[in-house]
Amino acid sequence: MELEKDLLFDMYRRMKEIRVFENRAGELYLQGHIWGAVHLCSGQEATAVGACMALREDDYITSTHRGHGHCIAKGADLKPMMAEIFGRTTGYCYGKGGSMHIADVDGGNLGANAIVGDGIAIAVGAALGSRINGTDKVSLTFFGDGATGTGGFHEAVNLAAVLKLPVIFMCENNHYAVSTHVHYSSPVPRAADRAAAYGIPSFSVDGNDVLAVYEAVKIAVASARNDEGPQFIEGLTYRWEGHYKGDPEIYRSKAEVDQWREERDPLLLYRVVLQDKGVASTEDLDKIDEEVNMAIEEAIEFAENSPIPPLESLFDNLYVEDR
């Protein structure tokens, strides 16, 4: 598939934004600037970007506890994103949500979610809402290999299949759910195999090849928007960081991590592709790298200088109406 140059460059830029955002978030967390926990998606940039960029801007996504990448890929601004994980009023959620509940509802991101599996039914609902509203918006839900064991997953896929809703089930199989390997927790080799139980089409793709992810999701989105019902895509990938920053990671070997980092880095792989296609030079991409580095530092400065929510805001936005 021949893609426009702008789109190809945007994919690189967004993946780089995710990469740098996560690296810096991890550092800032260890330095004590970020409260709570961060669940980084370093190494999983291609599934986020390939999928989100295959959607229309007004389509919906739901995300996971590892949702910074999805948020950036869906087009969020870096400043309110960083401010949110810093807990400031200028954050997407006024500092009330934090890393695991970051959302950009106006931008179609119906939220990161700290409950594994819950976001899947919510995305099914968004697709249902789209049908009730008479629009052709589709929804895409991100979830991991671990979520495919939850009741929430099975019920939601089943419901979407029987109602024939325009949902794309996007499994980011990074092979681990905290410490538990997917070969232990799944009786079938691929998450995509589970789709057969629901009679919906499924694809398993190299989740670190952003163009492969993009192509697969593009096809799925077209099918869904064409009233062909839900689609299931699995992107095989790997998370470089622990489940959370600070995870001792005794459940996997450093050799395994290093191998993925060195041989299957989504950004490096994509660089090679762009250069081989003659779309971009090293200088072009290095320039993007510099711009992104600067943009992230500006976002950090913005966050650090943003106000902390006042105590009076504790009860704000609990309800729309007083009674």
Binding site: Y60, T62, G91, Y92, C93, Y94, G95, K96, G97, H101, A103, V105, D106, L110, G111, N113, A114, I115, D118, I120, A121, I122, A123, V124, G125, A126, A127, L128, G129, S130, R131, I132, N133, K137, S139, G151, G152, E155, A156, N158, L159, V162, L163, D316, N317, L318, Y319, V320, E321, D322, R323
Partner: protein, 325 residues
């Protein structure tokens, strides 16, 4: 005015709101042609079809989660949970998602869902089909809980609930579905958070919810013959609670009995009693008493079941204990 059943009043409310607003729809098990397990929406399918009366597989978590998602994108779902006991299967979507989305997202989202479900019982449905779990949801910030007792109340409150932009747990009652009452022919709404004094009296305040309101009124009739004047208050909305109406009554009578279906321990009576004593302590002439289910699952055998649910006799006994008569 027309006499109709509680069930017909619900059907009228849903139908009127669906006609008025194309984004309102009903989703749940057997809600389409069958009209729901209790037949509440039977006959609506001809008018609204399967596009707006959405039948589902048995999947309370997904049904409720779909309600959350549909609400987030600008529709007004009514989620029907067949028996309140089954709401336990949807707890994460209600407690973690529906109740919290608006707050966690800094006010940038709203979740205008109504979860309708019948609680209570008394016809041998036994332990897993008769629970009244409203207290759990009053305990979750971000939800509102409505629990009407009459056809008039249920229609007015359901219409308001459907129009509300907040997530509402709307607790109906299985044995109330067939009860009858007068309902205005013209449109009316009842606001949330407003209690109703169902009967005035000066000797004692009896606060009752749902079907227990009927027992409280029956008890009041009998006590009236003995010269005891009972004021019966139906909160109608459990959260936000109309404490002002309750306190005005308590200041007048000095005696309070709270009646609810659901086990006594940590039932809604515990919260109401605490609020009363906190705000009107000096007006109390006796401890606040509760009449509720004993702290057991509801047994099947009919006579045991009867002992596990409050009735007017138990209310009368509590009133007399409170008054020291």
């Amino acid at each position: 005015m027309t006499e109709m059943t509680y069930s017909e009043a619900i059907k009228a409310a849903i139908s009127e709101e669906m006609r008025r607003d194309p984004t309102v729809f009903l989703i749940g098990e057997d809600v389409a042609i069958h009209g729901g397990a209790f037949g509440v929406t039977r006959g609506m399918h001809d008018e609204f079809g399967s596009e707006r009366l959405i039948n589902t597989p048995i999947s309370e978590a997904a049904i409720t989660g779909a309600g959350v998602g549909a609400a987030l994108v600008g529709t007004r779902p009514i989620v029907e949970i067949m028996y309140m006991d089954f709401i336990t299967l949807a707890m994460s979507q209600i407690v973690n998602q529906m109740a919290k989305a608006r707050y966690m997202f800094g006010g940038k989202a709203k979740v205008p869902v109504v979860v309708r479900t019948p609680g209570g019982g008394g016809r041998g449905n036994a332990a897993q089909h008769m629970q009244s779990l409203e207290a759990w949801f009053v305990h979750v910030p971000g939800l509102k809980v409505v629990m009407p007792s009459t056809p008039y109340d249920v229609k007015g409150l359901l219409k308001t609930s459907i129009r509300s932009d907040d997530p509402i747990i709307f607790v109906e009652n299985k044995l109330l579905y067939v009860t009858k009452g007068e309902v205005p022919d013209e449109e009316y709404l009842i606001p949330l958070g407003v209690a109703d004094v169902k009967r005035e009296g000066s000797d004692i305040t009896v606060i009752a919810t749902s079907r227990m309101v009927l027992f409280a009124l029956k008890a009041a009739e009998k006590l009236n013959d003995e010269g005891i004047e009972v004021e019966v208050i139906d909160p109608r909305t459990l959260h936000p609670l109309d404490l002002d109406t309750i306190l005005a009554s308590v200041r007048k009578t000095g005696h309070t009995v709270i009646v609810h279906e659901a086990p006594e321990r940590c039932g809604i009576g515990a919260e109401i009693a605490t609020q009363i004593q906190e705000h009107a302590f000096d007006y109390l002439d006796a401890p606040i008493l509760r009449v509720a289910n004993p702290n057991v699952p509801i047994p099947f055998s009919q006579s045991l079941e009867a002992a596990a649910i409050p009735d007017d006799d138990r209310i009368i006994a509590a009133v007399k204990r409170s008054l020291g008569t």
